[in-house]
Symmetry: C2
Subunit: 321 residues, 2 copies
């Protein structure tokens, strides 16, 4: 996996993102140079090489998937008014709302430019995979925003939302990598399912880290979801196991603007603590990782070829940020 | 042309734009049902049929180009804070900023879904044409925003901005239509150039109508560009021919927020009147139309096949809204 990650880094280091007008491309360059985990291009390369692909054949697709992902971050951060991303100021907070909108739009188109750079016998399938994924990501973000206005979101609805918002893009990256390598359809589907479970566990981890992670390593302020009244998996799960009084109190806390937000964060974490929510969510995450492992087991490829994805899975399972 | 316009209307009437989540697709349906002139799909169909294409082969592309265009309108109206579009409230003013952002993003992806619906021997060329045009449109919008902050925009810079922001999409629609019909490369280029001149004249007309059009027929408030301190072609041309005193006064008026914006509009129009700006801009528009006509003359197709584009050209030349 380390080898693949270096390949991904090299791909991004070698790429020129600046162009004219500078006001449009500067925020794009800033965003794509911020780093981040580069998981999506990594997944694309890993799936591709599992079936004999070469980095040179898919570097454009690796750039595309990460550029698309960062486009969604620009717009999501603006819509959610998130001041920080990867520990650095977000684009809208540095250059204003309009920059985030327009540079984001341009990144979506730049992702397409990368994808169209090379022809391929299965190009239309690849492009369809990419685009249907993009539509699902938008739908997921809309459900996420809808849920902020609703008081009756269920755990299955929440899981479907994060499937769309987060998991399908990981799954789509794997599918695209496998399509480029012209893998058999069954294995493409197994890798896709692997990506869905990986994505779900990844997002549930994100919810957990928001509440229990360390600000310095996580790169975001801890407890932000609580401050934002976000009905995450933790909150929804807590509601399910809470006493009527605790339910009532949690709903109150998540439906009002608190004058003292830090006191609110402390009180919510205290209720979570008494309900052993952290342990329960860790169990749910481990279950999703198990399902991901099973999907990967079933892919018909050499064990050595699966090693990078196995390693990635275990690294993500242990992540602290 | 009337026949083609009816075809375009039918294509949009037959299409279903609503889906789940409703909060995402309602603004899309609203926008795509507002009507408008549908010039881009009309151009695409006209270019296609000039070389023997059939409506059924390109209806998906007609939907794509109009959906893309409307995506840019959603985001532009938000960035420019325009309350009205086609005489109706804009999406951000009805559903909020985040709806305009996210439904807009989704429309860009829906445009791609339409384009990918059918295979074609020249699909990659078609997709590249579409996407490079999209990037240019974003660049044009950025230049437009930059110009609001600048005091020294020249007429050639302004023309390049409107080429990117408006003309390339008309030209791109024509090129795509011709590519679908597998027209000869030379004719594709001539139609593209026809579209550039048509687009430039169209945008210069828009600038003129903003100052001199009738609010009821134009669907936007007259003088809005003056209120917004937009350095349009009219303003830049006026600066070129104004006396030093008039230049000074125009710059003052366009660099400050006026307490009495209606008095400002009147004073600017009064200066324009004394400089005969309206007539000069009308001349510039007529020159662009002439160049468009010449490009169309040079396309190697039957005169009967060119009739719809000729008619469109003359209709646009006479437009009042």
């Amino acid at each position: 996996m380390k080898h693949l990650l270096e390949e991904v880094q090299k791909i991004f280091e070698a790429e020129q993102f600046l162009a004219q007008p500078e006001e449009l491309y500067r925020p794009i360059d800033y965003t794509l140079r911020l780093g981040g985990k580069r998981i999506r291009p990594l997944l694309l390369l890993a799936a591709n090489q599992m079936f004999g692909g070469k980095t040179d054949d898919v570097r454009h697709a690796a750039l595309a998937i990460e550029t698309f992902h960062n486009f969604t971050l620009l717009h999501d951060d603006l819509m959610d008014r998130s001041p920080l991303r990867r520990g650095k100021p977000t684009v809208y907070s540095l250059w204003g709302d309009n920059s985030a909108i327009l540079s984001g739009d341009t990144m979506f188109a730049l992702a397409w430019r990368y994808l169209l750079r090379r022809d391929h016998p299965r190009l239309r399938d690849i492009l369809n995979t990419f685009n249907e994924t993009a539509i699902e990501v938008c739908e997921g973000q809309q459900y996420d925003m809808n849920f902020e206005q609703r008081d009756d979101v269920t755990v299955p609805e929440y899981l479907e939302m994060i499937r769309l918002k987060t998991a399908v893009l990981l799954a789509g990256a794997l599918k695209m990598g496998a399509l480029y390598a012209q893998a058999p359809d069954g294995d493409i589907q197994r890798l896709y399912d692997f990506g869905i479970h990986l994505g779900l566990s990844f997002q549930l981890q994100d919810d957990l880290l928001d509440a229990y992670g360390d600000t310095a390593t996580f790169g975001k302020a801890t407890g932000q979801d609580i401050r934002d009244n976000k009905k995450t998996y933790i909150y929804l799960h807590a509601l399910q196991v809470a006493s009527p009084e605790q339910q009532e109190r949690l709903r109150q806390l998540f439906n009002n603007e608190s004058a003292d937000t830090e006191a609110k964060v402390r009180e919510v974490l205290d209720i979570y603590g008494r309900l052993n929510i952290r342990e329960a969510v860790e169990k749910a995450i481990a279950d999703e990782f198990d399902m991901a492992r099973k999907c990967l087991d079933e892919v018909r490829a050499e064990e050595a070829a699966k090693a990078p994805l196995r390693e990635l899975l275990e690294t993500l399972f242990d992540r602290k940020k």
